[in-house]
Subunit: 198 residues, 2 copies
């Protein structure tokens, strides 16, 4: 999981709660520009395990969103590290405005992707070459899966768990968290709510 | 927000994502036995802002659950700090097995409360004097509100936001997170799923 200052906490800990339920089968690493303290605008503090340069080979990299993405899309070093991670990792996922960061690297060009519907105009302005899908809870295109805003990351995480470990395991993880999984990627009321068509 | 080693991350950052959306009106403090690093079994690290002894006067204290509660119900110092916080804070909330910790302090005795349905037997064994409610997404009794497992904390957080700032604000917070708020506290499919009656 990639971290940066002012990430959205539910983008990160929603999916990590789902993967964390499988702690005998899943190992989680948090990765940032520098190892150490990460903070959010609401005053919370976190610890990133390793710097980008020290990231282990991953099976899946997740890029979250949050207000910090407004800063990171102008951080060339951050973008280059993200692009490299996307290139070398077999599975790539974005939550919310995390897709804006990945789009800005150019790596999403020609691929289908979705993102937060409230921030749609800003996100899609990061690259006109991405095939943006406005009405979707999440979108899979090859090795990249992108989810819509904030809580959609949990539904996508369960989809990725189902892909890897089977639907029964994903359902067990959802029930353990008493979480009602929206398992249909087309079920997205937030597109219309934000004036976006299909 | 109370933290301890091996807390469940969604119990904490689900509600804090909701409250954090109102960062101009809400200030968040994380409180633990000692200020500093907190870790979880899945290998994640966090920073607690202050020790119990240095906690500011709060409007609301939230006690999360997670596997660490199995240890903390036997930690007399922790229980005493939790009981003190519950006594001096105008609003008290628990998420998931956080109710087990509060029950063990005795402070919940004679009050109605709910908790995680998968861990029901262990939770309710912490005090026979609590009026445990098996079928509920959350339960309000006077100044204490307890929620069911993990993701139920988000629905309770939105309920508490609605109480304090109005339903329109709570709905805005839910929509911002693209979160489908279960706003009916009686809507709980997890009781029956775990063999619990009404």
């Amino acid at each position: 999981m990639v971290l940066f200052d002012d990430f959205e906490v539910l983008d990160v800990y929603g999916p990590l709660s789902m993967f964390g339920a499988l702690k005998d089968r899943v190992q989680i690493t948090t990765i940032a520009e520098k190892a150490g303290t990460i903070t959010t605008a609401s005053g919370l503090s976190f610890v990133a395990d390793v710097a980008f340069a020290d990231a282990p080979q991953l099976d899946l990299v997740i890029i979250p969103g949050g207000m910090g993405t407004r800063r990171e899309v102008n951080n060339a070093q951050f973008l280059s590290a993200i692009r490299h991670l996307a290139e070398v990792t077999p599975q790539v996922a974005t939550v919310c405005t995390g897709a804006a960061v990945l789009a800005k690297t150019g790596w999403l060009d020609g691929k289908r992707a979705t993102s937060n519907k409230m921030a749609w105009k800003w996100v899609t302005a990061q690259s006109a070459k991405v095939l943006w899908v406005p009405k979707a809870r999440w979108v899979e295109d090859g090795k990249v899966t992108s989810s819509s805003g904030v809580s959609a990351g949990m539904d996508m995480a369960l989809f990725l768990i189902a892909k890897r470990f089977g639907k029964e395991t994903a359902t067990w993880v959802a029930n353990r968290a008493e979480y009602r999984w929206y398992d249909n990627p087309a079920d997205d009321p937030y597109a219309a709510m934000n004036g976006l068509g299909a």
